[in-house]
């Protein structure tokens, strides 16, 4: 070990700190596999907080995602979710949402039906598991409860009037109010993350609760942008509800948004305590696959880091997280130049209509895997028996249009970790 150089030896190296990487760490920890997780956080900060399994199939919204998976298996057999059994997907979701709850951010357990979750625009989307802080709003809409929607002076991209104007047809009993946040009353811009941290302090909660109460009118419920704390949202939620005296709920906001920051900070704080080696926010520069080991090289502000492992899971995401790069001549996998299934030419990447319900062909590009979720090389054989892949880097899905991002991430991470466990056992 040279000067300023750190060296770790572990059983499994997980490349990527998005939902798939975090899920892989959760599953590996549960199986007692010694693991290290590295890589950019990527898109986690951009999530709504909702964990979608499958919201849309053949262009139709899905009430029952499990039935949707059957439809998907028929129409899109190469879709990552079509290559994983229902039992495994269910187990993966149960385990992951349970782990989140256990680590401090309460999530609903996956049920038979999708929730119709609320968006900041006042539209709704089908999703399987939601933060406990958001659940009351979903239920209140179903029941048509008289509800006050508040927005906050200086908070951009979230308008209670916009929410109400768009959701009114299915939820008529709504009123709106604009509140200023304690100590942020100037009218200048305010940020969800800053308010969320402030609400972890009881004096701020009390003052904010007073303002909500004053605006309540005859509403029996209050919805607000997602700002109820970063580290203990359920506690902040319960406290605020007690102070206001009616149930409260959160609505996601545009990024960078609190629900994603919560997950990131929770993992970054909770994993090391559970024995995981975590080197977040750093990009893996090189992955060397040799007989007997996989070695990752990366650099952080303290110098070079080397991680030697028996297996590696590539969960480096798509373009936003840097797992894929797009050149004028084609899409490439960034770390090992693993072949990427993709449209013939750049002219075929996108359809003319941005909102075409079919989605865009380039979104279905990605890495091919075998039945153990090992990425395939140019010869159609696994690149290496120690290398696995998980998450939206995989080919043959459109996670945005199909509302299946968390589904692909969690289920494929589960599958890959299972395959890693089998491989480690064989040795």
């Amino acid at each position: 070990m040279g000067q300023g150089e750190r060296y770790y030896r572990t059983e499994l190296a997980i490349i990527g700190s998005g939902l798939a990487g975090f899920a892989a760490s959760v599953f590996a920890l549960a199986r007692g596999i010694a693991s290290a997780q590295v890589g950019n956080t990527g898109a986690v900060a951009y999530t709504t907080g909702y964990l979608d399994l499958l919201g849309s199939c053949r262009g139709l919204w899905l009430d029952d995602p499990w039935q949707g998976l059957e439809l998907l298996r028929e129409s899109e057999p190469r879709h990552p979710l079509s290559r994983i059994g229902r039992t495994a997907i269910q187990a993966a979701f149960d385990q992951f949402s349970g782990a989140l709850t256990e680590m401090g951010v309460g999530y609903t357990a996956p049920a038979e039906r999708n929730h119709l979750a609320l968006t900041p625009a006042g539209t709704v989307k089908p999703t399987l598991s939601v933060p406990q802080t958001m659940l009351p709003g979903i239920e209140a809409r179903k029941a048509g409860v008289r509800t006050l929607i508040i927005d906050i002076l200086g908070l951009q991209g979230f308008s209670a009037k916009e929410f109400v104007a768009n959701i009114r047809s299915s939820w008529p009993q709504l009123s709106t109010a604009k509140l200023s946040f304690p100590d942020m009353e100037s009218g200048g811009q305010v940020f969800p993350e800053v308010m969320a941290r402030a609400l972890e302090v009881s004096s701020h909660r009390e003052r904010f609760a007073e303002r909500i109460k004053a605006a309540l009118g005859d509403a029996r419920l209050v919805g607000m942008p997602a700002i109820m704390g970063i580290h203990h949202p359920d506690r902040v939620h319960a406290e605020l509800q007690r102070l206001v005296g009616v149930p409260l709920f959160e609505i996601p906001t545009m990024p960078p948004a609190v629900p994603g920051i919560r997950l990131r900070e929770m993992f970054e704080q909770g994993f090391p305590a559970k024995g995981l080696t975590l080197v977040p926010q750093q990009k893996v520069k090189r992955l060397v696959l040799e007989a007997g080991r996989a070695t990752l090289y990366l650099q952080d502000s303290f110098g070079e880091v080397m991680i030697e492992s028996k297996a590696a899971i590539l969960a480096s995401g798509r373009f936003l997280s840097g797992g894929l790069t797009a050149e004028r001549g084609g899409v490439r996998e960034a770390l090992l130049d693993i072949p990427v299934t993709q449209p013939e030419s750049r002219a075929d990447w996108y359809r003319q209509d941005y909102f075409d319900p079919l989605g865009h062909p380039v979104n279905r590009s990605g890495v091919e895997v075998d039945s153990s979720f090992r990425p395939l090389g140019p010869d159609g054989e696994p690149v290496n028996h120690r290398l696995f892949a998980a998450g939206i880097l995989l080919a043959h899905h459109d996670w945005v249009r199909q509302r299946c991002g968390a589904g692909v991430a969690i289920a494929s991470a589960h599958k890959a970790v299972e395959a890693v466990a089998d491989m480690l056992k064989e040795q």
Binding site: D63, G68, L116, T119, A165, F319, A326, R346, Q352, R401
Partner: protein, 537 residues
């Protein structure tokens, strides 16, 4: 509704809200004449908004059309005097690189001299010292007095001034349906409000057709068959930063990818020229982008690694002499004013062809004809009367909004568009008083009147912020606000789609996640947004 027809009355109806139509509007208003300007879409929706904003020195036409070249030079000088706020007098260069015809390069100063255009010969070293991005394969270079002009600002100022002078009015999304003609005189024009579907009847004394690429269609609706146009589609791409200080032209006969024009903080690389038959759904393609990029890289090798944020296309209306079936580049860039007397109409005029640089002259000639027909003997004033600078029309200038915001120093005036630093107060002034402002103003209409959505995120974030602000202000109170956001983003995507590679890919991936997954804009229509009624499919 009983009749459902709105009626308007004016001295002169002008059809077409581009630089020419708005130029005619101001020209006539300066003579004391009331005008009504209509456009089937909005200001600068055609070629006036789909060009590179070049104020031609005339150098480009010096070799082929010295008359047009001289016209460009004279008009350029006039605009520098009367509209300095709209112009960046950045200068230009013509350069030849390995493979270009040395003979053409040698003859170039002679062509310029014949057209009266200043032309300074530069050594390759001098040229590259002035513009370090130029290729080291450059063998000839000349400095010429090119400049750039903001066509959006020009248009908005023209309308704004005409409103002030004679209460003239601009009506957006108003399309001509038919002309009411009696004894060789147009008495009324029946139009459709393309936003609401309602009808508008405009009672007129004179009609000017300045509909650009659509002027042949408009003339035919009035029964005139004398306007014959060739439609030439041109595609350009916009870089994320300004690559050169000056306009860079390729020193060779006109071809694809032969010009790079600065536009404030960005540069525009163009242009293709392809004849098209249909004016609807004009959009840039990947193949066109590749063509301009490959050619442009010969002049400026750094374009290979440049980040581009958008492509766009315009259609040049080129006048076709009766027997000429030549391609777009050899058709005349000059303009023609038709008085249509030989078509049996006494109060109808069509002005078409021409260029952005010569729009004022086109408006002057048209104004002379129309004023004479109205018995108005006041002379044209546009060559000497400066364009005023209106409050609600300054927001198209790159860099104006941040300067304004910084000077104003009001922390409650939040920035809604971070790429271009457009504050809330800019949006408020536009929806209150910009030309063509109306209730439930669309994001697209705000975009035409500001820099909103023109930065590197291409509206991904600011569309959400501006929409929330508009709901908050009560501009929208229904789902139409989200529909407006969706239409705006669909429109931006036309230009974004062909330049998606490299650093734009993370951007578009995030955009799709935002607009579809977070906002649900891909599911706004009908039952798709009401899954409960849809069952599990």
């Amino acid at each position: 509704m009983v009749s459902g027809i709105e009626t308007f009355e004016t001295e002169v109806l002008i059809i077409g809200g581009g630089v020419t139509g708005t130029g005619v509007m101001r020209d006539l208003a300066l003579r004391g004449i009331h005008c009504l300007l209509i456009d089937r879409r909005d200001l600068n929706a055609g070629a006036s908004g789909g060009n590179h904003g070049l104020l031609h020195s005339g150098g480009r036409y010096a070799a082929s059309d010295s008359e047009t070249a001289a016209e460009c030079r004279q008009e350029g000088d006039i605009l520098r005097q009367v509209a300095p706020d709209c112009i960046d007098d950045c200068g230009g260069m013509f350069i030849a690189v390995e493979g270009d015809d040395p003979g053409f390069a040698e003859r170039f100063p002679g062509y310029c001299e014949a057209a009266g255009i200043d032309c300074e010969s530069l050594s390759p070293a001098q040229a590259r010292e002035r513009e370090p991005a130029l290729s080291d394969k450059l063998f000839a270079a000349y400095a010429i007095p090119d400049a750039t002009v903001d066509p959006f600002r020009l248009t908005l100022e023209n309308v704004n001034h005409a409103q002030q002078l004679t209460d003239s009015l601009f009506l957006p999304h108003t399309a001509v349906e038919s002309f009411e003609i009696a004894n060789g005189v147009i008495t009324g024009v029946l139009c459709r409000n393309t936003k609401t579907g309602g009808m508008r009847r405009i009672l007129v004394r004179q009609v000017v057709n300045a509909a650009g690429a659509w002027s042949m269609d408009v003339a035919r609706r009035a029964g005139c068959s004398d306007v014959s146009l060739l439609y030439s589609k041109g595609t350009l791409i916009i870089s994320n930063t300004r690559i050169t200080d000056r306009v860079i032209n390729r020193l060779r006969p006109p071809g694809d990818g032969d010009i790079l024009v600065p536009g404030g903080t960005v540069s525009l690389l163009g242009t293709t020229s392809d004849n098209v038959d249909d004016l609807e759904d004009i959009r840039p393609t990947v193949a066109e982008v590749e063509r301009v990029l490959i050619e442009g890289t010969a002049m400026l090798p750094c374009l290979e690694g440049t980040r581009f944020i958008r492509a766009f296309s315009g259609v040049r209306p080129l006048l076709l002499p009766a027997q000429n079936t030549a391609d777009g580049r050899s058709a005349s860039r000059g303009f023609t004013l038709f008085d249509h007397r030989d078509q049996g109409l006494e109060n109808f005029a069509t002005v078409t062809g021409g260029k952005l640089t010569t729009f004022r002259l086109m408006a002057e000639k048209t104004g002379d004809l129309v004023a004479r027909r109205l018995g108005n003997s006041r002379p044209c004033k546009t060559a000497t009367e400066p364009l005023p600078s209106g409050n609600a029309v300054r927001w198209t200038e790159p860099g104006f909004a941040p300067r304004f915001w910084y000077r104003r120093n009001d922390p409650t005036d939040m920035i809604l568009c971070e790429c271009e630093m457009v504050p809330q107060s800019a949006i408020d002034s536009i929806i209150e008083s910009a030309p063509g402002a109306e209730s439930e103003m669309t994001l697209q209409a705000i975009g035409v009147r500001s820099r909103v959505g023109k930065g590197s995120c291409q509206g991904s974030f600011c569309s959400i912020r501006v929409t929330s602000h508009l709901y908050d202000r009560g501009v929208y109170d229904s789902a139409r606000g989200l529909h407006s956001m969706r239409d705006f983003l669909s429109g931006r995507f036309k230009g974004v789609q062909p330049i998606l590679w490299g650093e734009q890919m993370p951007q578009i991936e995030l955009s799709e996640a935002l607009h579809c997954s977070l906002m649900g804009l891909d599911r706004l229509d009908g039952k798709a947004n009401d899954p409960e009624k849809e069952g599990s499919g």
